[in-house]
Amino acid sequence: MKRFWKNKKVVASIALMHHTRFIIPIMEKLAEMGARIQYIVGQAERSQEITAVNCDIPYNHVFDYVKAGDRPEVREHYRRLKQVFEKAFLKSNRLGVQMLTVADKTLYATATEYVGYKNFIDTEKPDLCLALHETNRWGKMLGFWAKKRSTPFITLQEGLGYNEDFGYIGHAQFSTLNLVWGERIRNKLAGFEAPKDRIIPVGNTHIAQEIKHQRGSDLDEKLRKKYNCGKKSLILLIFSATIPSPEKMAALFQYVNQSRNTLLFIKFHPATPERKITEWQEGVSQSHPENIVYIHEQESVYTLIHACSLIALSEPSTTGIEAVAFGKTLVQLDLQLSYEAPYSYVENKVAKLLSPEVLADYLKNGRLKELESKPADIAAFMTNELSSTANAVGTVVDISRQTISANRFSPEPLGWEPGSPFYNWSIIICVKDDAELLLKQLELVACHSDETDSWEVILVKPDSVSRDTRAVLDSLSGNVRIINSDLRQWDMPGLMNLGARQATGKTLIFLSPGIAPTGDWLPAIRNGIDRFGSSSIFGGIVKNQFNNIVHAGMVVDTNFSPVPAYRHLDEFFPAANQTRRFQMVDLALAIDRNRFLHLSGFSSRAGNYCLLDLCLHAALTENSSHQAVLLSDLRLLKLDNNDTEYDPAHAIHFHSRWSGHLWDSEKKLYRTDGVSDLQLDAARMSRAIATAAG
């Protein structure tokens, strides 16, 4: 492992001080393993350089990479941005959240950074880029240039992620992978628009180490000593961006003020201006001077959490989950604040919702125990929120290694020679353990493959299958060969390669499980070969049982993930029914046997992405962008409604290998076809209604 990291260069973009806690542990671990690490900061109203200086880490400012010769380019970008925003500002006042001159500084800084990040990547040539996220301009531009240069770009999770979904649009756009804390956030992001397969839960990269650090030190004792806490019971009240008025907290403050046994720490958000805190404190101090300690940034919030027995939040905040991870009792204060955060610790059953008055009562009557959550609820919450509470850093480092390896992956030759072809076609099917599906698939192959043509069917089956499936296989006769593999786990590319090795057809036709032909499919492929040549890869239009398009060529969507063109539309939607080249085809694929061997077959590491992977590899080998051809008269049927199984290892491999080659082509296709968004929406709507009506 250490040998792998030697001479590997990893760069990370950092911005706000309190967010570095998620990235720095990863970078430190990578450095420990021999990687060269470097931090980069951008230009911002709140200086990111101060973050780097405070963290005492090696850094460069992105402006360091902008030289005098770049100035004309910077001005050109600035001019472009200015034209766009000038028009927008005059047309509507919706953008006026920033003052004009601040907006102007932002635009100029953006133009400069755009050139800076490009030069940064070109100069430093990193093996891997890290950023907390890409919803700010620094992450977005770093991600963009990393992708342009085919450098893997991994993003993480900034915080609890409790805002409205639309706030996370583009969260995993340029990110090769987005490593999040748990399933809850993965589902939230994917539920809106993010590519689910590139979002992988790994846990929180900070909290485990922090808990270990706090528990292994006497920081809580020192804190108690520093603030003369004695044996007092300590309560931590954490404020987010909005500070509630002192009047709302009066009952709690009054109790603390009168209590001899309680000390209240009030922790303000790091982004709260000092002036605002002083004003607020003055309002409180007049009536409640005793037993309250105000903390802004002078103490670690984790030492405070560790030292206190009860944590109260004014709003849902990341510190809540951290408090639960520390094993503390959590209270969500009911302050009637207006915030739009659809997240609740209370609904997750790890906090009680109490008004300050009621909390004061609990404290007065010594009923703290009653506020504790049930261990089962806490366990369920933690599983959903943090997929790992122990070794998230290790997981990230491991994924980073896989990412870099995949990015440089070059397949090994298959190591077997092609024999002379006997048949025209070898139809290769991996046997999935679903007897009914397999039978239907084989029936349709037999039904639609002309007896006068020369073809064979090769079925490759995993190590063990059910009795029903075996019965289907045993019942087969004719030009069908069944190949037994010793693969214990489902490995589609491995099974397909095995079938290909045994195949004697001139052209290999791979059908994914549940994909069956309709119509004169073999003549359609033959016509395709005649028209486009035998070096092309061929795919067909796949519909489902509702006659909706499942596949009509693969395009790349706005988040740079492969998706079927015209999906969900009627199988005869005119624009989709065109024979033409695509970057990739999926689900079924026909390829000349010799060409398949030349391309080293399917890559096992690509798993269920193996067909896409082969198309991209073919295009790369031929130094062309489109090697696949969609044949509009090659019609196929998807017999089931199952989605392909997800294995993060395959997603890591596929996206890390091909990220630099996948650029938005979906919009371009629709534009070329003259199909507007409105038309697409209407067509999808009408299909949805037709499908629902049966």
Binding site: E76, H77, Y78, R79, R80, L81, K82, Q83, V84, F85, E86, A88, F89, L90, K91, S92, N93, R94, L95, G96, V97, Q98, M99, L100, T101, V102, A103, D104, K105, T106, L107, Y108, T110, Y114, T135, N136, R137, K140, M141, F144, K148, E164, F166, G167, I169, G170, Q173, E340, W663
Partner: protein, 402 residues
């Protein structure tokens, strides 16, 4: 159509210039100047000074201008609809390599679904020629000024009323978004004028004020300029100076009568474009001749060739502010005052080597002198007084609405 005094006898019927002032944007000198300007334009335009009610200092200071106070309110919202509207506004524009602009800037920098709108509560009004606003700059304006500025610019765009910005802090910076959004830009510094005029994305006309107006729009204005306010207007009226006449301030000295006669002989080659302001001392009597008489007698052939000339008390040096430059035959009190107040000074002195120090040039030949004067004439032509700017805007606006 341009207004004429005869047509505009009733003040309420006059076309209006809405001039917005705020705290942090006014000085007593500026108010003094605006009082004179208002008076000067009274037959043509009504300068309607608008000040936010919350700008109590500006309201107090601007009392002589009879300002109107207007209310300002803020409206905030956070919603997906606002986000979608913003996205629509930015559109599908991209950097040239294909990076989407809204994806880069909207979610964080431009506040996602957050809206902060500043609303102006104004009386209904009509016949407004333009809105005049001080241009905010990235390194010198308050948030309140900026928000109100944008509210006016937006309103102007909605109502199709030209919005004219004037410079207080230098506009020769890399940040030019705000100037790009205006229908006209009034500068007070030549650097800003030259810079903005040559920016390809600033389409609006750029004007440069003559110093006797522009200096009042500067935080560095001194009593020297304040004392001279309106002096240039009086000179123009008295001598019927044409807009293209360049004015030179000549600190004549009877002890150097020969040199000054020679100076005028050189200057007569540009005479029809020049008005000469001679500074004279009452005690500069030689025999029975006053200094005024000495000048007229010795240069009787040259003086009639000039557009016009006038005599000024040398104890009122601030009168030189009406001039485009001081031209002297040796360094003297006047050239020092000129240099100290950033007025160009040209010294024709054959006894010292030629040199240039800031806005002070020493020359020792006729050719060099005339070259400097030619530049002054050219620069003078580039300067535009407020009155002419308003006429120009008014003419354009009238044409547009026809």
């Amino acid at each position: 159509m341009e207004p004429t005094p005869a047509e505009q006898s009733d003040e309420s019927q006059l076309p209006q210039i809405y001039w917005v002032l705020m705290d942090n944007q006014v000085t007593p000198f500026m108010i003094d100047f605006l009082t004179i300007l208002k008076d000067r334009l009274r037959n043509f335009y009504r300068l309607n000074f608008q000040i936010p009610a919350l700008c109590t200092q500006a309201l107090e200071m601007a009392k002589p201008l009879g300002p109107s106070a207007f209310q300002v309110s803020s409206y905030t919202q956070n919603s997906m609809n606002v986000f979608l509207e913003k996205r629509e506004l930015i559109g599908e524009n991209e950097f040239k390599d294909g990076l989407s602009i809204w994806r880069t800037l909207l979610i964080d920098d431009f506040g996602l679904g957050n809206l902060h709108e500043t609303r102006l509560h104004l009386e209904q009004d009509h016949n407004i020629v333009c809105f005049m606003l001080q241009i905010p700059t990235p390194l010198g304006s308050t948030e309140m000024e900026e928000r109100i500025f944008y509210a006016w610019v937006y309103l102007a765009n909605q109502l199709r009323i030209p919005v004219i910005g004037y410079e207080l802090l230098p506009l020769e910076t890399r940040w030019t978004l705000v100037p790009s959004m205006l229908d006209g830009i009034i500068t007070v510094n030549r650097e800003s004028y030259d810079y903005l005029r040559h920016l390809p994305d600033v389409k609006a006309p750029v004007w440069l004020l003559p110093d006797y107006e522009g200096r009042f729009f500067s935080p560095t204005t001194t009593h020297f300029w304040s004392n001279a306010k309106g002096g240039a207007y009086s000179l123009q009226n008295l001598y019927n100076l044409q807009p293209d006449t360049t004015v030179l301030y000549i600190p004549h000295n009877v002890a150097m009568s020969y040199e000054y006669k020679k100076l005028l002989r050189h200057l007569r080659h540009r005479a029809k474009n020049l008005h000469l302001m001679f500074s004279i001392g009452k005690d500069q009597v030689r025999g029975s001749f006053s200094q005024e008489e000495t000048v007229e007698l010795l240069s009787k052939e040259e003086l009639p060739q000039f557009a016009s000339y006038s005599f000024h008390d040398l104890n009122a040096p601030y009168e030189m502010t009406a001039a485009d430059a001081v031209v002297a035959c040796a360094h003297c009190y006047a050239t020092l005052i000129a240099a100290g107040n950033r007025l160009p000074a040209i010294i024709l002195d054959e006894g010292v080597p030629p040199n240039t120090r800031g806005n002070k040039v020493t020359v020792n030949s006729r050719e060099a002198l005339l070259s400097c004067v030619d530049e002054l004439i050219a620069q003078h032509k580039q300067k535009t007084e407020f009155a002419r700017i308003f006429l120009e805007i008014h003419r354009k606006k009238s044409k547009r609405s026809q």
